[in-house]
């Protein structure tokens, strides 16, 4: 089976093509293309994972392009890393497509939505099994395009269109770095094959600074795609898309593909320890910063968006400090399940109450039992409370950080974990418990149909149990023989205790209607509150940088307009003038044609005699 892994991305691609050509005629029934295709892909993906766990692997590569001395093969590879990720992506995407049947019901652009989702999944799966940078980058760009198209799915609202543009442009900054890194590597190794790069770079005996620069250029791609500091600003805005998209693309899969790229090219990063320190710091700062901002968000999707940024930061931290990609990858997998679950549950709430403001919710537990219970399971996993999966995936990262020579990384991480537990407790209490704050909203609330709640339950199982049952197996599967660094008992105790403390603090502040206390607290901590509300002023910083860039761009544009365009327009005008002259050559007179022929032969003969011999 592993040799047929290419079928997995081909299935959603086929669904996409069917959508494009016959989707409109079938109306909403067309969605079953995707649901069936992803169902088959999930079965195949899980089968491949089981076989890979049994020791099977595959690497299929065919010659694709031959230019002179260079040959560029194309192929796919099934190893523990891609098998695990592929199984996760297929299952999560399948659940989200089923859920979308209910969520997007009656949407005027239902068909376009499903077409784009299927194209996205095809791109994502291609990136996961790609055995070379070129195919990976193409798939990466397809994902970027689909992300853009799906964020502005409701493009008639101009703020959605703006959010999509922002997401596209900000991630593009990272893509430029990644592309530069890919070409730099290619210029040294003459290869795009992942498996050949690190040995070839090692053999090239580059200066450590050059290796670090290469690794950091490649890492710039994940910084954009996985919303790390300072390019994290696009992800919260991307919540403008339909909630299943937030779950699929902006939580479970696409944003994680940056982390996946680091895992895939981990041997390159291991050659550049300096780059790994950068990755660790960027991850730790991102994790802490995003968690702190999430504490003051009132929009339920924004809370989850910032928590996604924060968790991606933990994954990067794991890449930076653990000495193996396994810690970050396990958090990626467990995060995909519990964050996908949280977003879908949030979508179910939004579907029911038609608002995203937590301050207008409250008391929904009584009306939406399934949604509430599954959301709370996801929240416990995210908060890192044992025995839920988040604890088991976060603990190795934090203990590796504690064992590393960079204590700041550990403290940022563990404080972030405290804040995570706090803001998730806050979100749960504001949404599901207490008195309904908006009676009108409360009265209209209802549990979502089974097509939406069943995927919630399906995702709740791994969110709850994956860590308890699979953590050890995962490590020995992905990195046999790897001994995780231990941060000592104190670090373990802190990793366990701080989230519990976070839950406690959250419960004290948000349990039982202490509104007066909260208002007083906000007033007392006003500067901090504003600082967090303004998201650490990162948007403003980005804007300021953009103005600087615009200034530079103006100068460049002036050069471009007057010098480069001048040359180009001049060439164009010259071409036009030339064309006008040569056109009159063919004026229709056959005698003139024949004369020209003979003259040309004569000129050629004379020239040959003079120079050619």
């Amino acid at each position: 089976m592993v040799g047929y892994a290419w079928i997995v991305p081909a299935l959603p691609l086929a669904a996409y093509i069917l959508h494009v050509f016959v989707g409109r005629r079938l109306k909403e029934r067309a969605a079953y293309f995707g649901v069936v295709a992803m169902g088959l892909a999930s079965v195949l993906g899980v089968t491949i994972l089981v076989q890979a766990a049994g020791g099977a692997s595959a690497h299929v590569s065919v010659p694709w392009l031959q230019i002179g001395r260079y040959s560029v093969p194309m192929g796919f590879t099934v190893d523990p890393l891609s098998a695990v990720t592929m199984a996760m992506v297929t299952v999560v995407s399948w659940m989200i497509e089923i859920y979308s049947l209910g969520y997007m019901h009656n949407d005027p652009d239902f068909n376009r939505f499903f077409a784009n989702v299927n194209l996205f999944v095809a791109g994502m799966l291609t990136a996961v099994i790609a055995d070379n940078f070129l195919l990976f980058f193409m798939a990466w760009e397809i994902m970027g395009l689909c992300s853009y198209l799906l964020i502005c799915h409701w493009y008639r609202d101009s703020s959605n269109a703006r959010a999509a543009t922002k997401a596209f442009l900000v991630t593009r900054i990272g893509d430029v770095g990644l592309l530069a890194g890919i070409w730099w590597i290619f210029s040294i190794t003459h290869s795009f094959q992942f498996s050949q790069l690190a040995p070839a770079l090692h053999a090239a005996a580059l200066a450590p600074a050059a290796l670090t620069a290469i690794a950091l250029l490649v890492f710039l791609g994940p910084v954009g795609k996985s919303a790390q500091i300072p390019l994290q600003i696009w992800l919260p805005d991307a919540m403008a898309g339909p909630t299943p998209i937030s779950a699929l693309i902006h939580a479970a899969t696409m944003v994680a593909v940056g982390v996946y790229l680091v895992a895939r090219t981990y041997p390159i990063f291991q050659l550049a320890p300096g780059a790994l320190v950068w990755i660790g710091y960027i991850g730790a700062i991102t994790a802490f910063m995003a968690a702190s901002i999430a504490c003051v968000q009132t929009d339920i999707k924004k809370v989850l968006a910032y928590s996604t940024i924060s968790q991606l930061g933990y994954m990067m931290l794991g890449m930076g400090v653990a000495g193996s990609m396994v810690a970050g990858m396990f958090h990626l997998i467990s995060h995909a399940f519990f964050k996908g679950l949280l977003f879908l549950a949030a979508g179910s709430i939004i579907h029911a109450v038609e608002t995203q403001e937590m301050h207008r919710m409250g008391g929904l537990f009584r009306k939406m039992k399934a949604t509430s219970i599954t959301f709370i399971i996801g929240a416990l996993a995210l908060a890192g409370i044992p025995p839920f999966s988040g604890y088991f995936s976060k603990d190795p990262i934090l203990s590796a950080a504690a064992a590393s020579p960079y204590p700041l990384m550990f403290w940022l991480g563990v404080l972030g974990a405290f804040l995570t537990a706090y803001y998730m407790t806050r979100a749960c209490l504001l949404t599901f418990f207490g008195k309904p704050r908006d009676q009108h909203v409360y009265e209209h609330a209802h549990e979502s149909p089974a097509v939406m709640t069943v995927p919630l339950w399906v995702l709740a199982v791994p969110a709850a149990l994956l860590g308890l049952f699979a953590a050890g197996a995962f490590r020995s599967f992905l990195a046999p023989g790897y001994v995780p660094p231990s941060g000592g008992p104190a670090a373990s105790a802190l990793t366990l205790a701080l989230p519990l403390l976070g839950v406690l603090v959250g419960a004290l502040i948000y349990g039982g209607g202490r509104t007066a206390f909260r208002v007083a607290a906000i007033r007392a901590l006003r500067p901090l509150y504003v600082f967090l509300k303004q998201k650490w002023y990162f948007d403003q910083l980005g804007l300021a940088l953009m103005y600087i860039a615009l200034g530079v761009a103006w100068i460049v544009a002036a050069f471009d307009r007057y010098v480069v365009d001048g040359i180009v327009n001049g060439l164009g005008a010259l071409a036009g003038l030339l064309g006008r002259a040569t056109r009159t050559l063919a004026d229709g007179s056959a005698q003139a044609y024949m004369l020209t022929l003979l003259l040309a032969v004569a000129v050629g003969l004379i020239a040959l005699q003079l120079i050619g011999g």
């Binding site: 030339l578 056109r583 022929l597 040959l608």
Partner: protein, 482 residues
């Protein structure tokens, strides 16, 4: 030496089917000749199957007049594939004009036979017979619509200029014979090898000049291209496609046979001249195309420009260069025939052949407009299409062959070509339909649909999975004597 007819089986089938069609069309009324076209298509398919089965063969046949080797097999398959697409997509067009379908297909098959014989030739007499077979039938085909003055003009102009070019070629060939005393191509190569050492070396160069000039006429290289716009514009549209894909390819095949193989001892002389010809051809072709208003005339200049690109690969005189030329010719056949097929299909529906008539086609007929956009993208050389991979091969070959300036010329010319190719695309999608535009008719006949599908799939498959075709072209690019 026994005469081995088996090795020219495909040509015998092709010519036999052509002659059968002439006979049949004398007995079938013009209105009922559509089945005759199917007979012709069947003949092409059989020839294609035979040449595929015979593709491993190497050696001379017919008393040393022809030689089967990878490169002639390549041209044989390419010309047959092109003829197949022309035959499929031209049927409706020819029938709609009320002429004898049987005769048209008979001439088409016989002209294709001539083109293949040029590629197979191992003797300059055979080469010349093939050339004349192709040329004379082409004059007739260009003027096939006897009632249409433009078609007449196309035929007569092509004939007058072609006759002159034939004379020039014969003059050059006779000098070669005088120098070497043989008509066999390997014999010429050996004889010229001795001649260039002696006092007769300038005569060898004269012969080279005459032969290159005449073959430059055949491929419509500048300044021997002047017949092309008038002929393309007036000739029946499917035949214009045949001129671009088969006739010019046959010219390339003849250059490779007589100049690269037979005149190999002069190889230090011709590279730079072909390079000059290439630069001139692509530049004049492209800049003149900018001003065209008639789509077929535009495609004439486009094919001139494309010939300029192809000559780049010949100019470097390396195996990589030949290989990139073959790849380009194979890729080019799908894109250019695709464009002519769309023009023909739309003209059957009553649409005009001016670029202005294509305004708003995206709304009226999105399938045709989409296909035309694909073919145009490939002609420009946009990635994922065959044209991109083909240009990449030429540029790579010219850079590694030491002709970096020519590669730059090619790149600048590609940029200029966007101006007119994309003008058509913009016209289709962004301009409103003109008053009284022909309303959309989605349905085409099964034959035309199949032909268009072959062209589109060819463009995409070569663009996405180029390796098979690179291997094919590289295998074929071996030339004896190099």
């Amino acid at each position: 030496m026994p005469v081995d007819f088996g090795s020219v089986g495909p040509e015998i089938v092709l010519a036999g089917t052509g002659m059968l069609l002439i006979l049949l069309s004398a007995f079938v009324a013009k209105e009922r000749q559509r089945p005759l076209a199917y007979v012709g298509i069947l003949g092409i398919l059989v020839a294609l199957a035979l040449s595929w089965a015979d593709s491993g063969a190497t050696g001379t046949a017919l008393a040393g007049m022809v030689r089967l080797d990878p490169i002639s097999t390549f041209f044989r398959v390419t010309f047959l594939a092109a003829a197949l697409v022309v035959a499929l997509t031209g049927l409706d067009f020819v029938q709609s004009r009320g002429v004898s379908v049987g005769e048209f297909y008979a001439l088409l098959l016989l002209a294709t036979t001539g083109a293949i014989l040029m590629a197979l030739a191992w003797d300059i007499v055979m080469l010349y017979i093939g050339l004349e077979l192709l040329s004379v039938l082409s004059y007739v085909l260009a003027g096939f619509f006897r009632e249409d003055p433009k078609s007449n003009e196309a035929g007569i102009k092509y004939f007058l200029n072609g006759a002159l070019a034939s004379a020039v070629l014969l003059f050059g060939l006779s000098m070669v014979y005088g120098l070497t005393g043989t008509t066999s191509i390997p014999g010429i190569a050996a004889g010229l090898g001795r001649a260039v050492q002696g006092p007769m070396a300038p005569v060898a160069l004269l012969a080279l000049g005459f032969i290159l000039g005449a073959l430059a006429f055949k491929v419509a290289a500048v300044p021997f291209h002047l017949w092309a716009p008038d002929t393309y514009e007036g000739a029946p549209t499917p035949f214009a496609g045949f001129l671009a894909a088969v006739s010019e390819g046959a010219g390339m095949a003849a250059i490779i046979r007589i100049v690269f193989t037979g005149m190999a001892p002069l190889s230090s002389s011709f590279g730079v001249w072909i390079a000059v010809l290439a630069a001139l051809t692509m530049t004049v072709g492209n800049v003149t195309a900018l001003w065209q208003t008639n789509f077929k005339r535009l495609m004439a200049y486009s094919s001139v420009a494309q010939v300029g690109y192809i000559l780049v690969g010949l100019a470097v005189v390396t195996r990589e260069g030949i290989s990139s030329v073959l790849f380009y010719l194979f890729a080019y056949l799908f894109m250019t025939l695709g464009v002519f097929a769309v023009i023909a299909a739309l003209s059957v529906q009553g649409q005009g052949e001016d670029i202005a008539d294509y305004a708003g086609l995206g709304q009226r007929n999105p399938w045709m407009a989409g296909l035309l956009t694909l073919f145009m993208a490939s002609l420009v050389g946009i990635p994922t299409t065959a044209g991109f991979m083909a240009k990449l091969g030429l540029i790579s070959a010219s850079v590694s062959g030491g002709y970096t300036w020519l590669a730059l010329f090619l790149a600048v010319n590609s940029a200029i070509s966007v101006g007119y190719y994309w003008n058509v695309v913009r016209n289709m999608w962004l301009r409103p339909s003109p008053e009284g535009a022909v309303p959309a008719r989605r349905a085409t006949s099964a034959a035309a649909g199949l032909g268009l599908a072959v062209a589109a799939v060819g463009v995409l498959v070569i663009g996405l999975l180029p390796n098979t075709f690179y291997v094919f072209a590289h295998w074929a690019s071996f030339i004896p004597g190099h």
